[in-house]
């Protein structure tokens, strides 16, 4: 507890700041209390990072690793604030309405949040947000119950076409999984002819339904399917991102089977944003901090130990991920059909 004494001013909520800085402290021997934060320059005080999901989820886990390191880089404290609800639209809205002075930034994961916004439009335009950068990528995969012995995507498609399989599943209707499923059904190059989409309350329950053969196959994130695949009760069929997945390094992406690239939907790109009209130098400072934070030993070790992939992306990549979702989704899927698709 001695490092606490070193801080001249234990700011409010310093308990959490201190706690999340502790991991960094243990490894690098540095605490974010060096004091001199400069005058008139950015950042001039504590920052706030909005996580639009609850504590303990994937996005929150990443934030609690990466954000303290960014704080170290910027020589300031960054508070993490969880604003969950409304399929991440609530927290993202709060970010959008924040002062564009760089004191508040936040993260969400296109295409997931944009899809929610297209299905139930909120009162702000998500595309106005300014990108800071991307820090990770979570690909979607398709898994099937192993009793069917599905070999690859082409095999899965032929089984749905022959009527052998009819039901397909994933997360709740109106979310990115459902839109993905509809895209593959409507796109003639895929022609994944499922008759019936069943939505589950998250990737976990969907995978469990595949394990117990309630539904033959589902869309899942790579990490959520890992345990079940290694248990041997389900097979990983394909990876929906052209870049593949580090969780299943041998798994063939759809693009390698000559299906069209659907990366605008096939992977979550975990990104950070600042409110519209934030000045360029602020963005650059944050981007720089993000880039160097991701290269620290602390983050690299954590990533290696836990398998949580770290992948830096330019600010433009973050904005592109949002923009391409808003462009391509309405082109490929009838959103009214998404809204009404329930029997």
């Amino acid at each position: 507890m001695t490092s606490e004494d070193k801080c001249h001013r234990i700011g409010r909520r310093s308990f959490l700041k201190y706690s999340s800085a502790m991991s960094a402290l243990a490894i690098t021997g540095l605490a974010g209390c060096t004091g001199d934060s400069g005058s008139g320059e950015y950042p001039s005080g504590d920052l706030e990072y909005i996580v639009p999901f609850s504590e303990g989820g994937g996005t929150d886990t990443y934030a609690r690793q990466v954000i303290p390191e960014m704080g170290n880089e910027l020589d300031t404290n960054i508070e993490i604030r969880n604003v969950p609800g409304a399929a991440s639209l609530r927290g993202t809205g709060e970010l959008h309405h924040s002062e564009p002075d760089g004191s508040t930034f936040g993260g969400f994961n296109p295409p997931s949040t944009p899809v929610s916004a297209m299905v139930n439009p909120p009162d702000y335009d998500m595309q106005e947000l300014v990108g800071v950068g991307a820090y990770a990528r979570t690909p979607f995969v398709i898994v099937a119950n192993s009793s069917y012995g599905v070999e690859n995507m082409a095999d899965l498609v032929s089984r749905y076409q022959s009527g052998d399989l009819t039901t397909f599943s994933g997360k709740s209707k109106g979310g990115v999984d459902h839109v993905l499923a509809l895209t593959m059904q409507g796109n003639s190059d895929y022609d994944l002819a499922w008759e019936n989409y069943v939505g589950y309350d998250g990737s976990g329950p969907a995978v469990q339904a595949v394990i117990s053969d309630e539904t033959p196959a589902c869309i899942s994130t790579d990490t959520a399917a890992e345990g079940a695949v290694s248990d041997g009760r389900v097979d990983a069929v394909t990876c929906l991102s052209s870049e593949g997945t580090s969780v299943f390094p041998d798994l063939q992406p759809v693009t390698e089977e000559d299906f069209p690239n659907i990366d605008y939907l096939g992977q979550l790109r975990r990104c950070m944003f600042v409110p519209p009209e934030t000045e360029n130098n602020v963005v650059q400072t944050l981007t720089g901090a993000l880039e160097s934070a991701l290269q620290t030993d602390a983050i690299q070790d954590w990533s290696e130990e836990t398998g949580n992939v770290i992948e830096y992306g330019e600010p433009q990549a973050a904005e592109d991920a949002v923009a391409s979702a808003f462009e391509q989704v309405p082109e490929n899927v009838d959103l009214d059909q998404v809204r009404e698709a329930s029997n």
Binding site: M22, A228, D231
Partner: protein, 496 residues
């Protein structure tokens, strides 16, 4: 014999310093998180999670599972003393625990709760260690139609637990279910009754509903009462051992409730909140004297408390077997496993078996510690029931309000706490069963979601609920609960 070797190794790991320290720290933190409304085990564990990074996997996991188990017990403390269910898992504990406090039997109730929690926890963890491979097969027998039937089974308990007018109880239960339809629909992106407001997108939070219905309603009521919560002139000392004895004298209730808890814990999306109500309902249904329930019947406390600690064992099954968390707390626990490089799946029962056993043993030892803390420290809080209500009421109201806001930092939850507090006060006063209302709030969404999904799976035919033997058994159980009370006396008359 690899199992025995791993168990021994796990025992050694657990006993090596400082692991026992982290178990106790976890239990204490968990009890505090559980006793305070609005925090609960999942939020408490999530806050501690990043702190565990320097601890190493074993200590970190022992800390986290101990918090989980401490919170299950901790919820009962406030439930018994001041009618505030710290967590949803302790909601049914208020039904008889708080009346016991009013009769001056707070210490006895707290002792019963500590004993039942411990026995329930120990039994189910032992079962988990002994037969975890079989359990997973049982869990997999349950699918969407079965979840729906389980929810209906719980709802049919409304008829059992209602005291007074059945019509009023049905109205109360349906009203609870109706309120849960606010927010996004379970199987389409339809927004129901949200007035375009993002705060209402996820509907009302059931913990906020519980805080309002129990805590605020009761505070409004007892503010008009002179003296403490316990009636005047009652001697608080000396009934500690009575509590332990009472709990042990009801082995059937403990056994049944623990395994109901374990079983329901293994089902995703339900967990301890559902299991404590179902166990309570079952204890009441099978009782010779159901009228005593709600007036300080120790069996009610036993049922609720042994089931919620039993839930832990069950909820670990899908979490460690497949990495599929069934509840908020197990989701955080899963985060802890992953953060420390442990991958759920068969390797946790193979190469990492010693680690897995270590945290199961930590739960086992933790339950014994719960018993000691519960009996020797927590029972001393019984004095709170003699403090003048004028001092208790404002503090509990502040805790409830701040706890309600903390749930999701959403003012809708504060509105829920206050609105249902006022409504709950009137409902209690005019005999509209609050238990029925709460059953509706908790089980309504589970019933709706799984009903709609079942119909999606079956293309709209209801026969999906009777085609599997398991679902058929559940249907028969529901019919017995609903019509048993009407048929039984006639059957007896015919037979005699």
């Amino acid at each position: 014999m690899a199992v025995v070797g791993s168990l021994l190794e796990a025992g050694q790991i657990l006993m090596s310093w400082p692991t026992p320290l982290w178990v106790v720290v976890g239990l204490l933190l968990g009890m505090i998180a559980g006793a305070l409304p609005g925090i609960g085990s999942s939020l408490g564990m999530a806050i501690v999670l990043p702190l565990t990074l320097p601890l190493g996997p074993i200590n970190a996991l022992c800390l986290l599972v101990s918090m989980y188990s401490g919170a299950m017990y901790g919820g009962s403390i406030a439930a018994i003393l001041v009618n505030v269910p710290g967590t949803g898992a302790a909601a049914a504990t208020t039904f008889d625990g708080y009346p016991m406090s009013k009769q001056g039997r707070a210490v006895e109730a707290l002792a019963i709760s500590a004993t039942s929690s411990t026995v329930g926890g120990v039994l189910t963890i032992l079962t988990l260690i002994a037969v975890s491979p079989i359990l997973i097969e049982v869990v997999l027998l349950f699918g969407t139609p079965e979840y729906f039937l389980m929810a209906v089974l719980g709802l049919s308990m409304i008829g059992v637990v209602a005291s007074g007018s059945v019509v009023k109880a049905i109205v109360a239960g349906a009203f609870g279910m109706l309120l849960t339809t606010i927010g996004i629909a379970p199987n389409s992106p339809e927004l129901r009754y949200t007035f375009g407001n993002l705060s209402l997108y996820n509907g009302i939070d059931f913990i906020a509903a519980l805080i309002g219905m129990f805590a605020i309603a009761e505070m409004i009521k007892i503010s008009a009462q002179k003296g403490g919560i316990a009636k005047e002139g009652v001697d608080l000392s000396g009934n500690l051992l009575d509590g332990v004895r009472t709990a042990i004298r009801h082995p059937v209730t403990i056994l049944k409730s623990s395994f109901i808890g374990m079983f329901i814990g293994a089902i995703p999306g339900s967990g301890a909140t559902v299991s404590n109500f179902i166990s309570y309902g079952e204890a009441m249904r099978s009782s010779d004297d159901p009228d005593k329930f709600g007036d300080g019947e120790p069996k009610g406390v036993i049922a609720s408390e042994s089931s919620n600690n039993g839930t832990i064992g069950g909820s670990l099954i899908p979490t460690i077997s497949f990495g599929i968390p069934g509840s908020g707390s197990t989701a955080v626990l899963l985060g802890g496993l992953l953060m420390h490089g442990l991958r759920p799946g068969p390797q946790l029962f193979d190469a990492e078996l010693a680690t897995t056993y270590t945290f199961m043993l930590a739960l086992l030892v933790g339950n014994v510690v719960i018993f000691c803390i519960g009996i020797f420290l927590v029972t001393r809080l019984g004095f709170l029931t003699q403090v003048d209500t004028n001092y208790i009421v404002p503090i509990i109201v502040v805790l409830s309000m701040i706890g309600g806001y903390t749930l999701r930092t959403n003012w809708i939850d504060v509105v829920t706490v206050v609105g249902l507090g006022l409504l709950g006060y009137l409902m209690v006063k005019y005999n509209y069963s609050v238990i029925a209302f709460v059953l509706g709030v908790v089980l309504g969404p589970i019933a709706e979601e799984n009903l709609l999904r079942s119909l999606e799976l079956s293309n709209g035919t209801y026969s999906i609920f009777v085609t599997k033997p398991l679902s058929l058994i559940l249907v028969v159980c529901i019919l017995i609960i609903l019509f048993g009370p009407f048929v039984k006396p006639r059957l007896e008359r015919v037979l005699s």
